[in-house]
Amino acid sequence: MKRTLLALLLITTLFVSFACERRGGVTNGGGSGPILVGYYGDLSGRTSSFGQSTKNGVEMAADEINKAGGIDGRQIQIITEDDQGEPNKAATVVTKLINQDRVAALLGEVASSNSLAAAPKAQEAKVPMISPSSTNPAVTQVGDYIFRVCFIDPFQGEVMAKFSANNLKAKRAAILYDFNSDYSRGLYQFFKRSFESQGGQIVSEQSYTQGDRDFSGQLTAIRAANPDVIYVPGYYGEIGVISNQTKQLGIKAPLLGGDGWDAPQLWDLGGASLNGNYISNHYSVDDPSPAIQKFVADYKARYNILPDALAALGYDSMKVLADAIKRAGTTENVKLRDAIAQTKNFPGVTGQITIDKDRNAVKPAVVLKLQNSKFVYETTISPEGSSEPVATNN
């Protein structure tokens, strides 16, 4: 009896795996079936706002493309996987998307640590992967199949350092960073280098780890160093609390951050204590350019919430991928990879996207001020030596 059961189980397993193989085969061989695109992100973990926003953006872009007739008549089908914001799970779900679902390309992740865990799997299987918003430089260094449609941390760190030195006239900066996050550590180093090269001084360097609940020890040490600004390149879950406790310690220096702050939940956690702080980000919903305002209006009509930068980058990543598939005329991996690499001046919501030789997007960043539960546009800062105009309408 036991043996029969085992045999049955084996046969079923075989059938299931054949079925999967067949499905995959059709996709990769071209033809008229749907183009499978794998999306993976944190949909239920500590940074689930990131995964959810990006997913919204990706799905909206795919629907727009499908409604317009798809790519050469083929529809895009998104297969979504939740990695719960954990690097090892990111690697697992990406392996599943590649081997079981046989996706033509991957979109994800937001957090650099998760992208770094998943990218080697994509590179090994030679499946093109576009990260919408991982900003740590190491992500695309994994290999020639890994791309991104956002700027990278050396630039993001530099933007905030320049903004503090030039616009806020800060001379003394303190840093509080997340010790276990590739994203936060990267920004910390790049901010520090750039701020010091602007003639500023780093007066206190403190760290925490994700999930910490009390920051008063670090903040008291920072207060004693009397900084003009405090750079906190973390994720929104901790930032709200840090901002709250900064206020409770009577610290008046503004907190500065990056795109990791951008989540609706930030306002619940930090409330009024967040007023007067600044972040660097990929785009601003206040941008008057018609393309951005159309995106904002469509997104709002669909999800009943304003799109954050991660939604915009998710949207752009899907559009860049679709554009590359169209130019390549196939989903065959080598040709698709080359087509993504040749992306030039693609008109994205988050700016003109050109993929450089390191497979990163080069584009300006915006600085936003936090005021009454809103990110208010402050200024735009362009990359060094870039020919792009310093303007809000790109």
Partner: protein, 308 residues
């Protein structure tokens, strides 16, 4: 100097929360010789009970001491019921087996609660309502830069009041006498006509209510609550109970305050002696190991101590 005082205030502030949780560990251990590993999760349940209570009663929109009081008492009651249920349906059936069985049951209950919450409401942090206006109010200045916020004052006062109340229950009331009798010797207490099952339930209820108070109070200072918040905090409170002498009530309070102060000073001053602030959590557990090596019965514990 003002920085030192500030760090001391910060440390005692976290320490008070550890102490409230440590009391639950120590009381249950005193009576059953059981390390109730699900206790940290009861602290989390308490925080979420307060959160949902505030939302459902619409108190989040009406920040005041009264709202905080209602939420505090309500969540303490809910957590007490949860604690009693855990004891009744998980620990009591296996109490007659070896202590190891109960311990493993405790770990199972802990993981069950955590994963039920993650499955039901997700692991993303939620924002506890700010009843005291901490987000927009400046702290009260003591001297120099040293300051104390409204939330910190409330945490101190309420924790101390609860500890005094517990001391009164244990030493001045009839149930308290019964609790002490049960901890002294469960079987003799039963022979004396004490309803030991009821007393054990009560002990779980009181311990859980104190943990819930810790959860709601800490959320006034740190509004970020999530289903896994009880793991590390629970473990540190356990270390605090061991440090003070497990089974000993004043010991739990002392241990909590010491652990809170120790980790804050590591963060604040560690870099002067080459210890990064990231070592904060390691320090609590290093203390646990040192205590077990040097003074296993803890600071205030002794082998013949009357335990509750």
């Amino acid at each position: 100097m003002d920085t030192f005082v500030q760090q001391l205030i910060n440390g005692l502030n976290i320490g008070a929360i550890y102490a409230l949780i440590a009391l639950g560990y120590t009381m249950v251990y005193g009576i059953l010789r059981l390390i109730n590993f699900a206790h940290g999760d009861v602290y989390m349940v308490g925080a979420f009970a307060g959160y949902f209570l505030a939302l459902s009663l619409g108190l989040a929109a009406a920040p005041s001491f009264l709202s905080l009081g209602i939420v505090l008492v309500g969540s303490m009651l809910i957590a007490a019921v949860v604690g009693v249920i855990i004891e009744r349906f998980a620990y009591r059936p296996v109490r007659k087996y070896s202590r190891m069985t109960t311990l493993i049951m405790a770990i199972g209950v802990s993981l069950l609660i955590e994963n039920l919450f993650v499955a039901q409401i997700g692991a993303a942090p939620r924002a506890f309502p700010d009843f005291l206006g901490s987000q927009s109010q400046l702290p009260y200045r003591l001297f120099g830069n040293a300051a104390i916020s409204k939330a910190q004052i409330v945490i101190f006062l309420v924790s101390v009041a609860l500890m005094v109340l517990l001391q009164w229950i244990v030493y001045k009331t009839k149930v308290g006498t019964a609790m002490r009798a049960v901890s002294f010797n469960l079987n003799s207490a039963k022979l004396m006509g004490i309803n030991t099952d009821a007393i054990i339930s009560l002990t779980f209820g009181i311990g859980s209510a104190l943990a819930a108070a810790g959860g709601v109070l800490t959320a006034q200072y740190n509004p970020n609550i999530d289903p896994l918040m009880g793991i590390l905090t629970g473990l540190k409170a356990f270390v605090a109970a061991v440090l003070g002498g497990i089974g000993n009530i004043p010991g739990a309070v002392l241990g909590g305050l010491l652990i809170g102060a120790a980790e804050t000073f590591v963060v604040g001053y560690g870099h002067h002696i080459g210890i990064a602030s990231t070592y904060r959590d390691a320090v609590a557990f290093a203390i646990l190991i040192l205590v077990l090596l040097i003074r296993p019965s803890g600071l205030l514990g002794s082998t013949v101590q009357e335990k509750v």
